[in-house]
């Protein structure tokens, strides 16, 4: 570290939650050099969670999603390169080439380019939507008027939230999911059954255990989808919400290790003076002893912060060991979860009762308590479980896993 080059210019690729958090942290921690923020989208940083909630239902105007006021962005004294994607990286030359052909050098780089929706071959057909960016949300919102028919492919968080938002607009919604319940592999059978009921009670036609095999078109526009058993579901619009893929194509020839994301160590470092944060980063989380990539809003801000600090102060770098957190709003119900639910070995309702719409599920992976999901529980109850996960509590009977 002694011969580290002086930090004159830091480049951040990706101008959303993680990139903004990194930029703010660098300035708060006293970095006074040049700071370039490159963003593919033309907008100042805005927030995505409202896109499937308040923006889709029309309760918020698009402007309300701005993450900061323009004057707060100005105060960061950034070289903003918005509307231009980063197109290539050369760690040896320490340059980023932009889509407009210009090049910018750097002394340190933070990759925060996020993810994009996974697509099906027919995703380009008019009437078929994906939802990631603000224009996607505005295009879909414009179509969601009372009496129209929407088919949502995939009952993950995104598909479920869109189904719920569309129901508030009196759109007829069919939600198609190959698993036996929504989010089955993630939340387990009890929470899955609760989510199934929640959709059905709110008028969503939920088709479980079946897959969409293709679309039907008329005059070049989607008019329905075909299910594996041959059923035809007529639709005015189709939303495909089947997960995402990291935006790493621009790093293909960079020599960075890409494996479902930018592979990082426990400090969020991908290579000397190159860090990654947010949805695009796969890093080693020492708290769980495993590599993970999480697509949660809070992680984007926390990891942007952690990467910026480790970049500035490698001599006192701290491992990034968060307890992941996410929330989701569906049909007026807020679901919150801490920890790692994916790949759990056991899920048990430990407080409340799904029948009352107030309950908490604890998750065991191997010998340890690794996650907790809550619906309608007070925040203090949930924070106790977060603390227990952070303390790597062994799973005895889950109720005594709680350090009261």
């Amino acid at each position: 570290m002694t011969d580290r080059r002086p930090l004159r210019r830091i480049v951040i690729a990706g101008a959303s939650a993680a990139g903004l958090s990194a930029a703010e942290t660098l300035r708060r921690e006293g970095f006074e050099g040049a700071l370039t923020l490159i963003g593919r989208e033309p907008h100042l940083p805005y927030d995505r969670p409202p896109l499937s909630k308040q923006v889709l239902t029309g309760t918020w105007p698009a402007e309300r999603t701005a993450l900061r006021r323009p004057e707060d962005i100005d105060a960061l004294d950034l070289e903003l390169r918005l509307g231009t994607a980063a197109a290539a990286l050369s760690p040896a030359a320490r340059t980023v080439t932009l889509a407009d052909g210009t090049e910018t050098g750097y002394d340190a780089l933070i990759v925060a380019t996020g993810v994009r929706p996974r697509r099906l071959p027919w995703c380009g057909t008019p009437g078929v939507h994906v939802l990631r960016d603000l224009p996607d949300a505005l295009a879909l919102r414009q179509r969601l008027t009372a009496g129209r028919r929407l088919v949502v492919v995939g009952a993950g968080f995104l598909g479920s939230e869109v189904a719920a938002a569309a129901r508030t607009l009196d759109v007829a919604v069919t939600l198609v999911e190959p698993a036996p319940t929504p989010l089955a592999h993630l939340v387990g059978p009890d929470a899955g059954a609760f989510l199934t009921r929640l959709h059905r009670d709110n008028g969503v036609d939920l088709r479980l255990g079946t897959e969409v095999t293709g679309i039907v078109t008329a005059g070049g526009r989607a008019t329905g989808v075909r299910l594996a058993d041959g059923t035809l579901l007529p639709a005015d619009d189709v939303l495909v919400a089947i997960g995402s893929e990291p935006n790493t194509a621009w790093l293909r020839d960079s020599g960075l290790r890409l494996f479902d994301g930018v592979l990082c160590d426990e400090y969020s470092a991908a290579a000397p003076d190159v860090y990654a944060a947010g949805d695009v980063a796969r890093w080693h989380n020492p708290l769980f002893g495993t590599d993970m990539r999480v697509e949660h809003r809070t992680n984007a801000a926390e990891q942007g912060m952690a990467a910026a600090r480790n970049l500035l102060h490698p001599e006192r770098a701290a491992p990034f060991a968060p307890v992941p957190y996410f929330w989701s709003d569906q049909h007026g119900t807020r679901i919150q979860a801490y920890g790692c639910l994916r790949g759990h070995d056991e899920a048990q309702v430990v407080e409340g009762d799904p029948a009352d719409g107030r309950f908490l599920v604890a998750y065991r992976t191997g010998p340890a308590l690794t996650g907790a999901l809550a619906v309608g529980m007070p925040p203090k109850a949930l924070r106790r479980w977060r603390a227990a996960i952070a303390a790597r509590t062994q799973w005895r009977s889950p109720a005594d896993s709680l350090v009261a």
Partner: protein
């Protein structure tokens, strides 16, 4: 420092309470409550961290 919270924006994540427990709390629905809107100097770093980390951009800080 003056601390303001935009409660309609708050998503009840509790990140602010973890970062600055003397300044923020949550009501029974999880919505942020500012305990001290002119917090002591010693808490300012934590409060700045809370504002930066809030996933709903619901916390605003002003100088006075």
């Amino acid at each position: 420092m003056r601390v303001e919270a935009d409660q309609p924006k708050c998503v009840a994540s509790g990140q602010c309470v973890l970062a600055a427990p003397d300044v923020f709390d949550q009501d029974d629905d999880g919505i942020v409550v500012v305990l001290d809107d002119h917090p002591e100097e010693s808490t300012h770093d934590d409060v700045r961290e809370a504002a930066a980390i809030c996933p709903a951009a619901a916390i605003r800080l002003a100088d006075k």
